[in-house]
């Protein structure tokens, strides 16, 4: 089946949820490795933190925060869908989750500036 059948908001929400989940799974070991640098000594961690000050790394952080927020709100939407009495307007909930994710990303970006 072509992607034409999949072109609807709740499928895109599924895809974002799945891909953000995979991205966060890949990120977590890297995150823990970074924290582990503190055990190796202050200099090692400071060296990494200086590297992380580069603009491209900062931009990646914003993307990561948006993905984390998207995964959080997408997960809450699915939990509500599965465990609470059904409510119509699922596409509105997808839109709300997307909007909140962007707001969180924007707040993080403003905090950086």
């Amino acid at each position: 089946m072509s992607w034409r059948n999949r072109n609807h908001p709740t499928f895109w929400a599924f895809l974002v949820h799945r891909l953000s989940g995979i991205a966060l799974t890949l990120f977590l070991p890297f995150h823990f490795w970074t924290l582990g640098q503190a055990i190796a000594g202050e200099a090692a961690l400071d060296g990494f933190l200086r590297w992380a000050e580069q603009p491209l790394v900062k931009a990646s952080e914003v993307v990561l925060v948006v993905l984390l927020a998207a995964h959080l709100f997408g997960g809450l939407r699915l939990l509500a869908l599965e465990f609470l009495p059904w409510r119509d307007g699922q596409k509105s909930l997808v839109a709300l989750g997307g909007a909140l994710s962007l707001v969180v990303g924007l707040a993080f970006l403003l905090n950086l500036a």
Binding site: M1, W3, R4, N5, L78, F83, D88
Partner: protein, 241 residues
């Protein structure tokens, strides 16, 4: 020709699992349905074309096909709504074996209704009186919402989980099970919940909601499946499953 506006190029699947799309030129008329197009090809251009239809008015659920990549009931799909640049692509439903051209073998689809215990189960001893069902009760409203299915298999064809796991019961069978779970006269509840809670049952649903998106009757099998997930969880927690 009366009502003719222009010509359409229609690509139609010819063959079984192996086959190819063949182009036909079909007159485009006002208020024309996709089923009208297929019928025109079969009656005027190529009588060997195989397809399935019956009522032509959206009741029987026979004429579903894949139109421009999306499963639809063809008798009530207007060409003007789906044709792009005067082109149409018409294929058989996905997730079902193709017998020939646009006709699919629906046995697996209906067998799954039986596997999901989709038949009404009366109590062992006949009820002494008529069941008094309040139409406004929550359970009856749930059953009413699910009961209008015409068995067209559009949802089954739209579902990616069926494509990934051919054993998955699918939206229509689970929707039917949910209508019976909410029928106070039915006595097959525990058996039915066991039937729909296996690896190929309701918990396999990823909530893509393609079934609800594509259902021509605007039913919501995803809501029914979510209801089954809650009912099976409750039954498991209370030891009933």
């Amino acid at each position: 020709m009366p009502g003719q506006v222009d010509a359409l190029t229609v690509s139609v699947w010819r063959g079984a699992a192996a086959g190819r799309y063949v182009d036909y030129q079909v007159p485009h008329r006002t208020s024309q349905t996709v089923l009208d197009i297929v019928t025109y090809i079969q009656r005027r251009l190529d009588p060997t074309l195989s397809y399935r239809f019956s009522c032509r008015v959206g009741v029987c659920g026979s004429c579903a096909m894949t139109v421009n990549g999306v499963p639809r009931w063809t008798c009530r799909t207007h060409v003007d709504r789906v044709a792009k640049d005067r082109k149409l692509e018409i294929g058989p439903l996905r997730n079902l074996p193709v017998i020939k051209d646009l006709a699919t073998d629906m046995r697996a689809f209906f067998d799954k209704w039986a596997r999901a215990k989709g038949q009404f189960q009366p109590p062992a001893t006949p009820a002494a009186d008529f069941a008094r069902v309040d139409p406004a009760s929550a359970a009856r409203r749930e059953a009413d919402a699910a009961i209008e299915c015409i068995g067209c298999a559009v949802c089954y064809s739209a579902c990616d989980v069926v494509a990934w796991n051919p054993d998955y019961l699918g939206p229509a069978a689970l929707n039917r099970a949910w209508s019976l779970v909410n029928d106070v006269r039915d006595a097959g509840g525990a058996e039915r919940l066991a039937a729909v809670s296996g690896d190929a049952g309701c918990h396999s649903c990823h909530s893509h909601q393609a079934c609800a998106e594509r259902c021509p009757k605007q039913l919501n099998p995803t809501a029914a499946i979510a209801g089954l997930k809650r009912a099976t969880l409750k039954a498991a927690l209370t030891g009933a499953l």
